[in-house]
Amino acid sequence: MPKSKITVEKPTNADDLTLVVGQVSGKKLKGFRLSIHGEVASALRDACVATVDQLNGRTELAYKWDISYDPNLQFLGIADALLTIPSVDQGASTPHTTQPQQVVETDPQARLILDSASSLPLLPASELKKRTFLFYAAVVGNDPNNRTSFVSRWNPYSTTLCGRILTLYGRVSAMSLNRF
């Protein structure tokens, strides 16, 4: 099997972590950061390390819209630069002489939220149960301009419940959006 092209450095205890949530509001996506205890940050950091270990134990496949893969042995990877470009028209009839590079359309607002994680508005803990979130993310790293985001689609309130943090992260595939 070919070696993975994506390398994500394992977070260390020296790496700062910001817990971020994204909420759909009308047609916009709003981001908030959450104040977390140091022990919660440490547990989330450990979960990120476990996720990186899981990724490193699998083989990367370049993303294609029609690809089939084994999620136990493989993961889908796509270069950072291709995430915000609008998708190619799959119904185009013009034949291509060369295979076009697969791109994935993503919401640029999500990227902005993750890029500005530590400057987002602070969401009170009491609001977590009242709102529904599109995603949450652990943004890790000490350089504000070069942090790694571990993204998942869960309400972060559940991660703060005792005994569920590692289980949740162990089940989901983290996607690093920065600097591949």
Binding site: S116, A117, D143
Partner: protein, 175 residues
């Protein structure tokens, strides 16, 4: 805790010195003890901010895009420290009510203005409060361990939406 309540805590901490001076000035035992309690409470609250908060919360890095000085607000703040020298040693009830009213108005102005940035107690504890805007648009106050310059990366923990506390960082660098 709400933003106002957090600022009120900073207000009590900021005026710990004033309460200590008032305790020295007043002859009435109950007033003296009331001021001593407020002074001790103020110092304890600031000690909590300086020594406890940074160790409890998870830190995160921010980059300073602009740092504002509080120079123009200092004169107004210092004027409130004249109160102990205008009081009488044994005030009547009406005097006490007037002093309390003055402190209440001062507190209201403090929590709703830029005076949050001025805190002599934090200075005594080796900290200062700076108003900072990050390169990503957050604006608020940082209880800093020293001077912060533009482009500095600051590790901080949040106290609330508007106030952060800088934590020790041997890796502080210019971006």
């Amino acid at each position: 805790m709400t933003e106002i309540a957090q600022r009120a805590r900073l207000f009590v901490g900021s005026y710990a010195g004033l309460f200590a001076i008032l305790a020295i000035r007043f002859d009435a035992t109950w007033l003296r003890w009331a001021c001593i309690v407020l002074a001790v409470l103020g110092v304890a609250l600031m000690a909590w901010v300086v020594f406890v908060v940074p160790g409890q919360m998870g830190a995160e890095p921010i980059t300073a895009a602009s740092v504002e000085d509080a120079g123009s607000d200092v004169a107004g703040y210092l004027a409130t420290y004249l109160l102990p020298f205008l009081t009488v040693a044994e005030p009547g009830i009406r005097d006490v009510v007037a002093y309390a009213l003055f402190l209440g108005i001062s507190g209201l102005i403090y929590v709703r203005s830029e005076m949050t940035q001025i805190n002599p107690t934090l200075y005594v504890l080796g900290r200062q409060v700076v108003k900072l805007t990050t390169d990503q648009g957050w604006t608020g106050y940082v209880v800093a361990r020293g001077a912060i310059h533009v482009d500095d990366v600051v590790r901080s923990v949040p106290m609330n939406e508007q106030v952060r506390v800088q934590v020790r960082d041997d890796r502080t660098q210019h971006a």
